[in-house]
C-alpha cells in the first residue's frame, strides 16, 4: 500500500538548468503527491552518475534514464529498478539518433576525414554521446577504433552534449557526437535534441556545422521505478504517467522536454542489446 512508503523521490536528468528541470517537473511532483498521498521530492543532480547511485542505493524511487544509464544500473544491480514507460515521438517511434558533426570550414564531411583528428564524446554514461557511437563508429570501415591515438588522433570526453557542441564550434575538437531526434531539418538543428537547443540559445549557427555521421535508431531511455516499491505504488505511478498525455498536455510537454505523444509501457527486453553493449564495453 502507499502507506508503506513515507515519501517518494524522483530523480530528473537532462541538458537544462537544474532549476529549470525542477520547474518543468513540478507538475509531475504535484500529481505524484496527489496520487500517492506522500510527500514527493525532486532531485536534479549534475550528471547521470548521481542518479545511478541514487537508484542503486535505493534512495531514489523513480527516474527517467538514458538507455545506457539504465544498462549501468541494471549491471550494477539487476534487482534495483525496472523500466516501465518510454516516451513516444510524434511519429509514434520511440527512438532517436546519435549524430556525428564537425565544423563546415574544417572541410570534414565524413568519418573518412576524421582520421588523425580529435574526436569528442559527451558523458560516458550517455547512450548517444558515448555508448552507441563507440560501438557503431568502429563498424564504419576497417581500421576505425575508438582507441585514443589509433584511428582518431585523440578521443576525449567533453562532459556532456552541450559541451561537445560548443567544443566543436570553437574548434577545440574536430568532431563530436550528440543526440537529435533526426526529424525536421538540419539547418534548424532538427526538431529536438541538443543541437536544436544550442541553436535556439544562439550558441551555434547550423550553417557552420555539417553532419558527418548518424547512428541507427537508439531506443529512448526508460522511466524506471525501484523494484522494491509496493506493487500498488508502482501501478499508480505507471497509470499516472501513462495517462498524462490525455490528462495534461502541458505537463507532458514539460516533463518530456518537447512535443511527444506521451508515454507508453515498456519492459527490460527493449534494452537487452544496450545492456549487452555496455557489458562488452565494461570488460
Amino acid at each position: 500500500a502507499a502507506q508503506d512508503i513515507s515519501e517518494f523521490r524522483i530523480g530528473i536528468l537532462g541538458g537544462e538548468n537544474a532549476q529549470d528541470r525542477m520547474n518543468s517537473n513540478e507538475c509531475l511532483r504535484a500529481y505524484t503527491e496527489e496520487a500517492l498521498g506522500v510527500p514527493t521530492k525532486l532531485f536534479a543532480p549534475a550528471d547521470y552518475a548521481g542518479v545511478i547511485q541514487g537508484l542503486v542505493g535505493g534512495t531514489l524511487d523513480m527516474a527517467w534514464l538514458g538507455a545506457s544509464a539504465y544498462a549501468s544500473t541494471y549491471l550494477q544491480d539487476p534487482e534495483a529498478v525496472e523500466p516501465v514507460l518510454v516516451k513516444i515521438n510524434l511519429d509514434g517511434s520511440y527512438g532517436y539518433h546519435s549524430i556525428g558533426f564537425a565544423r563546415k570550414d574544417s572541410n570534414i564531411t565524413s568519418l573518412d576525414d576524421m582520421e588523425g583528428k580529435v574526436f569528442g564524446f559527451g558523458d560516458p554514461n550517455s547512450t548517444s554521446g558515448y555508448l552507441i557511437p563507440s560501438i557503431e563508429i568502429p563498424t564504419y570501415k576497417d581500421g576505425v577504433t575508438m582507441e585514443s591515438g589509433a584511428y582518431f588522433g585523440e578521443v576525449k570526453f567533453t562532459g556532456g552534449h552541450e559541451q561537445t557542441i560548443v567544443a566543436v564550434n570553437n574548434g577545440d575538437i574536430d568532431g563530436g557526437v550528440t543526440w537529435a531526434d533526426g526529424q525536421g531539418d538540419w539547418e534548424d538543428g532538427y526538431n529536438s535534441g541538443a543541437l536544436r537547443k544550442a541553436v535556439d540559445a544562439g550558441l551555434v549557427d547550423m550553417n557552420d556545422l555539417v553532419q558527418i555521421w548518424k547512428s541507427k535508431p537508439i531506443p529512448e531511455g526508460p522511466i524506471v521505478l525501484r523494484k522494491s516499491l509496493p506493487a500498488d505504488v508502482k501501478a499508480k505511478m505507471v497509470a499516472l504517467v501513462d495517462g498524462m498525455y490525455e490528462a495534461d498536455k502541458d505537463c507532458t510537454y514539460a516533463i518530456s522536454a518537447g512535443e511527444s505523444l506521451g508515454f507508453d509501457p515498456i519492459t527490460h527486453d527493449a534494452y537487452v542489446s544496450i545492456v549487452e553493449a555496455r557489458k562488452a564495453k565494461s570488460q
Binding site: R9, G11, G15, E16, N17, A18, Q19, M22, N23, F43, A44, P45, A46, A49, G50, Q53, G54, V56, G57, T59, L60, G159, G160, E162, Q163, V166, N170, G171, D172, G184, D185, W186, E187, D188, D200, A201, G202, L203, D205, M206, N207, D208
Partner: protein, 440 residues
C-alpha cells in the same frame, strides 16, 4: 681569528660571500623562470592563445548585463510570438508586444538606428540603412531564397547564408531565417524581468507605484510575485544559498565535535603510546587525503542525493583536518595548568575539562570559524557535483552556456555570501576570543 685578518683577506673573504649570495639570488628566479618556461610548453599556452575564442568571451560578457527579446515567426503557420530570452516563461501574452514590435498581418520589428525587419505574409524584409533592403522568401523546395542589394560575390561576412538558412548578425540584433521559422533578437541592457515576469500585474511599475500599492495592502502579493518569479527563481536561489551554508555549518561543527575527542589520541602529550598516535594520525591523513568530493561520491550511494550527503562529506574531510590541527594545538598546551588541576586529585575527565579545554578553546574556535568560511566555498563546489545548493545551480547555468545573466547573479550572490561568512566569522572570533567568557 679576527685579529689575523688583514684588510686584503677580509676583502677576498667578503667577495666570496657575495659571489655565493649572488649565485643564490640569481638561481632562485632562474629556476622559477625555467619551470614557467617548461609549463609554457607543456600546457601549450601559445596554442591556447590562438584557440581562445574572443567571441565566446564577448557573448559571456554582453549576456551578463543584457538580455535579448526574440520575435519568432513560424513559417508554416505564419504565427508570430514575442518572448524575452526566447523562453516560454518570458513570452508576451497573445497579441501583446513591446513598443518596437508592430504585430499584424505584416509584423514590423524596429531594430533602431534605421535597421528594421518586416515579416510579411510571403516576404521577409531586412532594411539596413547603409546597404539597402534585402528580401527573403521561404519555400519548402528551394529553401531560403534571398535577394540582396549587392552582388552575391560581395557577400559581407556578417551574413552567413546557405541554401536552407540565412543568419544576419549586426550590432542592432540578429535575424535568422530557415525554412521552418524566422527569428529576430534585439539586445537590451539590464536584467529584464528580475523583479516581476510579464504575467505579474506589477511588471513595469515604478518603485513609487509599487510602494503605494504595497501600502494599500498588496505588499504580500507584491512580495510573493517577486519571490516566486519563475524566470529568476528568487525563492529557489535563496533556498539554495541557505542549503549551501547549512552544509558548511553542519559539516564544520559536526567535524569539530567528532575531531575534538579523537585529537587527544593523536597528541604526543596525551597519547604516550606510539602506535595509538600513529594510528590516529594516519586515520586523519586518510580522511583528509581523500577529498570531500570523493567522499561525496562514496556517500551518495548510502545516503542519496541532497544536502545531508554534502554535509557529511565536509564532516569527514574536516574531521581529518581538524584532527591534525587540534592535536597540534593540544601538543602546545601548557602543562602547568594541567598539573595544577591534577594536584588536587582531579579525575582525568576533569583534568581535560579544566586543565586543557580552557587553554585550547580560543585556538580551536578560531580555527573552526576560519574553516566555516572556507567550507562555504567548498560546499558550493560539492553542491555542484551532487549535493545541490547554489553550486549546482551555478555550474548547471554555466554548462548550459546561455544564461550568463543568471550566472552573474549567482556569482554575485556567492561572493557576497562568502564575504558575509568571512566577516561574520571574523566578528565572532574577535568576540569569543577577546571577550570575557571566563573560559567556561
Amino acid at each position: 681569528m679576527a685579529m689575523l685578518d688583514t684588510n686584503a683577506d677580509l676583502r677576498a673573504q667578503t667577495e666570496q660571500i657575495f659571489r655565493r649570495k649572488r649565485l643564490i639570488t640569481l638561481a632562485v628566479p632562474s629556476l622559477i623562470l625555467a619551470y614557467l618556461v617548461y609549463i609554457f610548453f607543456s600546457f601549450d599556452i601559445a596554442g591556447l592563445w590562438q584557440r581562445a575564442d574572443g567571441r565566446n568571451a564577448q557573448i559571456l560578457i554582453s549576456d551578463a548585463y543584457s538580455y535579448k527579446t526574440h520575435v519568432t515567426r513560424d513559417n508554416r503557420t505564419g504565427a508570430v510570438s514575442v518572448a524575452i530570452e526566447g523562453e516560454k516563461k518570458g513570452r508576451y501574452p497573445e497579441g501583446e508586444s513591446p513598443y518596437w514590435v508592430d504585430l499584424g498581418e505584416t509584423t514590423f520589428v524596429d531594430l533602431e538606428g534605421g535597421h528594421s525587419v518586416t515579416f510579411g505574409p510571403d516576404l521577409i524584409t531586412y532594411v539596413n540603412p547603409d546597404i539597402g533592403t534585402s528580401t527573403f522568401r521561404v519555400s519548402r523546395s528551394q529553401g531560403v531564397v534571398a535577394d540582396y542589394p549587392f552582388p552575391l560575390d560581395e557577400m559581407p561576412e556578417w551574413i552567413n547564408a546557405s541554401k536552407n538558412r540565412v543568419a544576419i548578425t549586426t550590432d542592432a540584433g540578429r535575424l535568422t531565417i530557415t525554412r521552418n521559422r524566422a527569428e529576430v533578437f534585439r539586445y537590451f541592457t539590464g536584467w529584464e524581468l528580475f523583479f516581476f515576469t510579464l504575467d505579474s500585474p506589477y511588471h513595469g511599475l515604478g518603485f513609487g507605484a509599487l510602494l503605494s500599492r504595497a501600502v494599500h495592502g498588496e505588499a504580500g502579493a507584491i512580495l510573493s510575485d517577486f519571490w516566486n518569479n519563475p524566470m529568476w527563481l528568487h525563492k529557489e536561489v535563496a533556498w539554495a544559498i541557505f542549503e549551501t551554508v547549512l552544509m558548511a555549518f553542519l559539516g564544520t561543527f559536526g567535524a569539530a565535535l567528532v575531531a575534538l575527542p579523537l585529537a587527544f589520541f593523536a597528541a604526543r602529550n596525551f597519547a604516550p603510546m606510539m602506535w595509538v598516535r600513529m594510528g590516529a594520525r594516519r586515520f586523519f591523513d586518510f580522511f583528509r587525503g581523500v577529498d570531500a568530493l570523493i567522499w561525496t561520491i562514496i556517500l551518495t550511494r548510502a545516503f542519496g542525493l541532497g544536502p545531508l550527503t554534502g554535509a557529511l562529506a565536509i564532516l569527514i574531510t574536516d574531521t581529518g583536518t581538524f584532527g591534525k590541527l587540534f592535536s597540534e594545538a593540544l601538543e602546545n598546551v601548557d602543562e602547568k595548568q594541567i598539573e595544577g588541576v591534577q594536584s588536587t586529585g582531579a579525575r582525568p575527565a576533569q583534568r581535560y575539562r579544566f586543565g586543557v579545554l580552557p587553554q585550547v578553546t580560543p585556538v580551536l574556535l578560531s580555527q573552526i570559524l576560519y574553516f566555516l568560511e572556507s567550507n562555504v566555498r567548498s560546499a558550493t563546489i560539492i553542491g555542484a557535483i551532487t549535493g545541490g545548493g547554489i553550486g549546482l545551480m551555478l555550474t548547471q547555468a554555466i554548462l548550459t552556456q546561455k544564461d550568463w545573466e543568471e550566472v552573474t547573479y549567482y556569482i554575485v550572490l556567492i561572493v557576497l555570501m562568502v564575504m558575509l561568512m568571512d566577516w561574520l566569522s571574523g566578528l565572532i572570533r574577535a568576540r569569543l576570543i577577546k571577550g570575557d567568557e571566563a573560559g567556561h
